[in-house]
Symmetry: C2
């Protein structure tokens, strides 16, 4: 297996800085070099000390790296890749952490011709952003989806998978198009819906924003968490995964129309059937370790 002794992380926000922290904690023999396009982020990163080296210049950051991970909004991948290109050594593994994969694979491939590009997506995060928001255990027990293209060398794919497993993640491989459909359902549509409803609630004439905040424990507050996620990151995700998001949104709209009609018609049986079916999914999510069993997400009462 290819050895990964030096990792460069480009983009030191929530995910990039969590990768750095996890490497320092779980792979202490690996050197972590960090870079961020913003000087103030590099300053914070230096102060927090979660990388061995912070490089001011992108090409210097990736020099001698065995693995380069781009942890920038998916719309910024191509620019970030072009910026580091002059510093890359032959045989380096190029990867990322973006939430959409087909577009990122194309962008990185075009920006870095002749290099080994193996996109990846750790399905983990919080609603917070920036270098101070990261933590080493973010990937523990979470899935990391690796989407190697047809020509990706097997030993490089194995090395990348081993890297993520070392950070505590479980690894699955699939093709980029399927990833984008799966994540449209499990992540992108939920974010879009949450952003929508939080916007809707804050602009009603009949109900003040202060009332919405005050009585949010009735359910609304659950949506505000993911609607507090990084706006630029999510803008880019929706633009990059447009087709899959619009396709799943259409299915959601159909279902919402069916329930809307059931309410209007007073169809008690249809509502109760629907609400009964959806209970089982949460049980499975908890059984598979993807959420806490504690009521109310374990909030303090």
């Amino acid at each position: 297996m290819m050895a990964i002794e030096r990792v460069a992380i480009v983009g030191l926000g929530l995910i990039g800085s969590s990768v750095a922290r996890a490497v320092k904690e779980r792979l202490p023999q690996v050197t972590v070099v960090g870079h961020d396009a913003k000087a103030e982020v590099r300053d914070i990163a230096r102060e927090l000390g979660f990388c061995d080296i912070i490089a001011d210049a992108p090409a210097a950051a990736v020099a001698d790296a065995d693995l380069v991970i781009f942890a920038v909004p998916v719309g910024g991948m191509a620019d970030a890749a072009r910026a580091v290109a002059p510093g890359l050594r032959d045989g380096v593994i190029i990867s990322d952490v973006g939430s959409s994969k087909a577009g990122v694979a194309a962008a990185l491939g075009a920006a870095l011709p002749g290099h080994i590009v193996i996109p990846a997506h750790p399905v983990a995060g919080t609603e917070n952003s920036g270098p101070a928001a990261g933590f080493a255990s973010l990937f523990e027990g979470r899935w990391c989806i690796v989407t190697p293209g047809a020509g990706a060398p097997e030993d490089a794919v194995a090395a990348l998978a081993g890297f993520w497993q070392a950070l505590g993640a479980r690894v699955e491989t699939m093709d980029a198009a399927h990833h984008d459909m799966v994540l449209a359902v499990t992540s992108h549509l939920p974010h879009l819906i949450a952003y929508t409803i939080v916007g809707t609630a804050s602009e009603l004439e009949e109900v003040t924003e202060s009332e919405v905040i005050k009585y949010s424990a009735g359910g609304f507050r659950d949506f505000t968490r993911i609607a507090a996620s990084d706006p630029v990151m999510w803008r880019d995700v929706f633009l990059a995964n447009k087709e899959a998001v619009l396709a799943t949104l259409q299915r959601f709209n159909e279902d919402l129309t069916v329930l809307q009609q059931a309410i209007r018609r007073g169809d008690a049986g249809k509502l109760e059937d629907w609400f009964t079916r959806t209970r089982a999914i949460r049980r499975s999510i908890i059984e598979q370790g993807q959420d806490d069993a504690a009521p109310d997400f374990g909030r303090k009462h």
Copy 2:
């Protein structure tokens, strides 16, 4: 102020049993009599011991009570009221904990003519149901909305408000129609949306249910919590608060269509603006003590 020395709770699920537990803990001088239409729930309640007395007959449960609280699905309020009617003493305060108020006020008023009916709604709960799911601290720091009708005696309203404050709740009064509009936004629409998306995700052809569960940490799992709430309770809420729910749903649909168009057209600026605005609401909710500040709802990582 009217003295409340004996409380009867009709319906011993999550909310009813939490009220009982909170009274035992915070108002030990008050006698709590519990009743549930289901014999197996009464058996569990006896075993758990959160009431002083469990009455098998509804009319016996309310005998000599100063306050009767109906904690049944809103569609079951009229039947529950008629069942206890023969046992009610003059001057008793009749209240409830239902999530819609105009319909409940009408139902209780019609079922119990000549009695003092003061509907109330503690905005609190978890996704769990049944007598074992309740706990004494459920109402601490949460709002309880009281919706007295025009003829409600002031001392009775004050006594009910004092009762909820004693259980740790903050009390607000408003008219029933406004309550129903506020809760349509902060609770009913969020539940409808969550039920919808969880149903949508479980029935796609392109993505298996097992994939949805596996990768749910990308955001989807947040929706599964409230979509695991009691199906009968929620069926009744949507039927009882139909007009307000459909009105807010229309606003939501408008906004979703605007965002859908922005994605289709690649309108990056509109998406980023929207996603930036929604961040502030979560901050306010946390500042006002209506949610935890810990990232990811404080889930363990």
